[in-house]
Symmetry: none
Subunit: 233 residues, 2 copies
Amino acid sequence: MTSAPERNIRVLVIDDEESIRRALKSVLSARKYEVSLAATAAEGIDTAIETNPELVVLDLALPDMDGQDVCKELRAWMTAPILILSVRGNETDKIQALDAGADDYLTKPFQAGELLARMRALLRRAESRVVSPPELCAGDLTVNLARRQVFVKGEEVSLTRTEFEILALLVQNADCVVTHRMLMEKLWDDKEERDPRLLRVHVSNLRKKIEPAPSLPRFIHTEPGVGFRFTPE
Amino acid sequence: MTSAPERNIRVLVIDDEESIRRALKSVLSARKYEVSLAATAAEGIDTAIETNPELVVLDLALPDMDGQDVCKELRAWMTAPILILSVRGNETDKIQALDAGADDYLTKPFQAGELLARMRALLRRAESRVVSPPELCAGDLTVNLARRQVFVKGEEVSLTRTEFEILALLVQNADCVVTHRMLMEKLWDDKEERDPRLLRVHVSNLRKKIEPAPSLPRFIHTEPGVGFRFTPE
DNA sequence: CCGCCGCTTCAAGCGGTCGATAAGGAGAAA
DNA sequence: TTTCTCCTTATCGACCGCTTGAAGCGGCGG
């Protein structure tokens, strides 16, 4: 996988050397990365907050703050990998930086190819991380979006594709009204107008499968003329 | 986090130099790591299958196989981080190893402290990730992703490349739905749309080989309009 | 009280997707 | 070249679920 990423990945470079910034900007932009630059630690942290980068390249020797402290400060709220650049190649610096939350440490002068390869390795790891285990429990109902499974009183019920899509959208917007338009756009991505009755039939069938009393809905409430609402409480 | 891990972490060291193996064994054991050793690539892969390590330290220059190929072979079924050791410090070797699936690259001679710090950084990242065992048993079916072998009632069945790829992807996402799109992207990495019928044929052939009753699937269930799901239990 | 309107439910037709099978075609090995 | 394996395409029957029409139900206003 030496190829450029299909999507533009946001990278933040924090380095006080003008020449390094320019060089990295040029090299990374050519690889279709979306590059932000910062010359000081303070500026770097601000930019990180603004752009929320997916990877940070951080020089250890900044004028206004120690590199390790920058690392820790970023780590406090950010999970993106941090790659350290430094002219200092001694063991203690490396250990301290890595233990401060950095993910890799590269000694200057470095070769662009190695930096890019290490960035790819870090990003490969980061992207394979699971986002969150999206499981919802409400009363007798359990909805597992990742597994596409729904349980009522521990018994798995089999939902149709459309039924599950509807339920998923409602669960994702729990307590909020999901309009007819939103549902229909999600279900049939063509924008042509569809019969609103269609939704009602599907919702009706869905209720029969997951509601304790389908005619007195506990989970899926209808907002007349607007849409539906899922109530977990 | 300079402290030793609270739980014994399984580390596999693959290196042909006796002295390195001894030194690492001693250093890592003192840090409460549970160390396995291997002197050749073949032995290393076998040990990896047996012990399912949480981190692999791999020498790039092994007598019986190229380091990159070992990397790729491990990556095919293992998600644990791989740290490369090598006397070769040139850029090309590093890039190739990192792109082959390695997570870090350290040039010999190295200092123990740096190795330990890099291991900690890698393990910190991998901490939250589930380690998948290299072999899965479900009823009469045994799937060994590492060895690319499949057994039914103890008898090995021979799968074609595509069939195994499909089964592997399904097993790795056991209980979760694997969409048609995911399967097709994995099988044919070209993004051009393919005939969904193709998948059905391959899955059908696969079922005939591993299902007790192919028409009433026990392992590979189809989710209409979405994809397929592997059910171990 | 009655009719209108929107939501719910039921029932039936139709279309799409799936599974099985067979045959064409590409590539490797003999 | 032949032969074999495996990928791919094609065809067909069966079935599930989407869709639509229509009736039942309740609230609200005239």
